[in-house]
């Protein structure tokens, strides 16, 4: 069985299985570890009936396998219990924070990938020049520096000193955030989005850039590249239709790795820039011992990673017929 549809189907199945295993992992993580597992769900400050209601919902007084079943059911339905701090359903709490993270993470990764591909192709083309050495060194510097430190220094220099960017947050204080369009589709939002995205992109750019570079270097030596020229193709067709197109394949894998890693960076970016996303939420909720929220946020992050891995797997299968057409 070969062909793209089968490939996609297989990968989706794998992703779902991974999701289930993630839930299982979460389940066991909190039970095997020392301490009373009920504290993960039940706020000791709640009145007795409320506590017992939660215990019943999560079956914490029942045998393990029944608990597991209930846990799984709840998670799939998106029911993660109640937040300790706000007494709201966890999903409601998290709901507000998802979009900001999506926007920030999306713009960061997009910026990093575009810059990485362009710089990767250029450093491969101008191999052995000072340009290459400088670009690679700068990229490695940013990659080695902790993302939160780059953020701190960037804020100090560009926001506090030079006033080029706002000092963190997603919007200026006093803004009306009730409407979706009002919040996100305006210049102010973009202004706030810029600095954290640039900092994040600077941090992430090195790996995909280096992969693109070494991929181009290897591809440029391949016979079919020279044959394309022998066929009389224009140079830009040789570079983009054939060289870059083939070089992108390992970069796609690299981007998948990047994404799994970027969730962590996202947490740090949101803390430093005071961005109201799920990264900052998980830090705050752990701090407040609001375990239901922490648990659910972690799970959500896992879902995002698994989903993005799936997308990149499918993209790879689409780009490289050797994988999907056996």
């Amino acid at each position: 069985m070969s062909g793209l549809p089968w490939f996609i189907g297989k990968r989706i199945l794998q992703a779902i299985v991974t999701l289930f295993i993630l839930i299982t992992l979460l389940f066991f993580m909190f039970r095997i570890l020392p301490g009373d597992p009920t504290t993960m769900f039940v706020d000791a400050a709640l009145p007795v009936e409320a506590r017992e209601a939660v215990l019943a919902q999560f079956g914490l007084d029942k045998p393990l396998h029944e608990q597991y079943w209930l846990y799984m059911k709840n998670f799939i339905q998106g029911d993660f219990g109640m937040s300790f701090t706000s007494r709201e359903p966890v999903m409601d709490v998290i709901g507000h924070y998802i979009l900001p993270t999506v926007f920030l993470m999306g713009s960061t990764i997009l910026l990093a990938v575009i810059v990485a591909i362009v710089l990767g192709a250029l450093t491969a083309w101008y191999r052995g020049t000072k340009f290459e050495a400088i670009v690679v060194s700068i990229a490695l510097f940013f990659r080695s520096a902790p993302i939160f430190w780059i953020g701190m220094v960037a804020l100090a220099l560009l926001s506090h000193r030079l006033n080029l960017f706002p000092i963190g947050g997603m919007y200026d204080p006093g803004k009306d955030t009730s409407s979706f369009f009002g919040t996100y589709f305006n210049l102010e939002f973009i202004h706030h989005l810029l600095l954290p995205s640039i900092v994040g992109a600077a941090y992430y750019v090195a790996n995909p850039m280096l992969v693109m570079r070494s991929s181009m270097i290897e591809i440029m030596e391949d016979d079919f590249i020279e044959l394309s020229r022998a066929k009389g193709l224009k140079e830009r067709h040789v570079i983009f239709r054939h060289a870059v197109r083939n070089s992108l394949l390992p970069v796609v894998t690299e981007i998948a790795l990047l994404v799994g890693f970027a969730i962590g960076g996202q947490v740090l970016l949101e803390v430093v820039f005071n961005w109201p996303g799920i990264g900052r939420l998980i830090v705050d909720s752990i701090q407040r011992n609001d375990y239901p929220v922490a648990q659910a946020t972690f799970f959500l992050m896992g879902v995002i990673v698994i989903f993005l891995n799936l997308v990149s797997d499918i993209l790879y299968g689409y780009l490289d017929p050797r994988v999907s057409y056996k």
């Binding site: 991974t18 999701l19 701190m152 799994g260 990673v305 891995n309």
Partner: protein, 284 residues
Amino acid sequence: MEGNRLVKLLLKDKLGLIGVALMIFFIALAVFAPLIITHDPQTQNYSSDGKLLNMAPPSSEHILGTTKMGRDVFSQVVAGTRVALVVGFTCALMVTVIGTVIALLAGYFGGWVDDFLMRATDIIYGIPFLPFVMIMVAVLGPSIWNIIIAIVLIMWRTTTRVIRSEVLSIKQRTFIQAAKLNGASSLRIVFRHVAPNVIPLALVFGSLAMGQAIVTEASISFLGYGDPMLISWGKILYDAYIAHAITEAWWWVIPPGLAITLLVMSGFFVSRSLEEILNPRLRR
């Protein structure tokens, strides 16, 4: 590749040399820390007229100034070197060993062993790294060993994937077939014949892992989950962040971050050198 040739090639690469030099510098800093620090890192310092040296700029007395609580920044940074190196090397070692062994077993034995191990690896890839460490530390407690274990539990995944591909290609080589024909047992082949050939690649990933572990520990400390008994560079930055030192005390913010950057960079340079040596096509 013999050790001699390796050393010669490493020497020709300037960046690689810088990386090795930096690493030696930091190791020396850590080993000789008690001799190098000017003040006790935890002691709060006061000026001659009894006032707390609150975020005092660098002076001859305090080379890198003081923190909000009057502690000497220079001594803190030097002291932090030990934690960074211990975390870096321990994680690198454990990750490399675990990752390589799993890769060897999966790649060489193939079949259901490979399937099982690689599915496990895929699942680990689905777990977000930093949040996982955060949760582990929140539940288990902020000791440095918990941090190290949490890091290692996830970080082996990249090493395994890459080394497994390498094992798959080594498996086809004739000297392995020859060993099989000679009647060598599988385990013997794996560890005596295949393993030595993946060690260079494992070293490449080991040096990368060191950097990643150090940054992860720094991030955890920056978020406030660091080991409260230890001074780490991340914790220094945490203190600085809480005190809003970004705008006022650059001497508090820059050095620890720079130290992390330089140490991690040295890991990158060394691993890039090793990689260029292993893959001649990347050489000029």
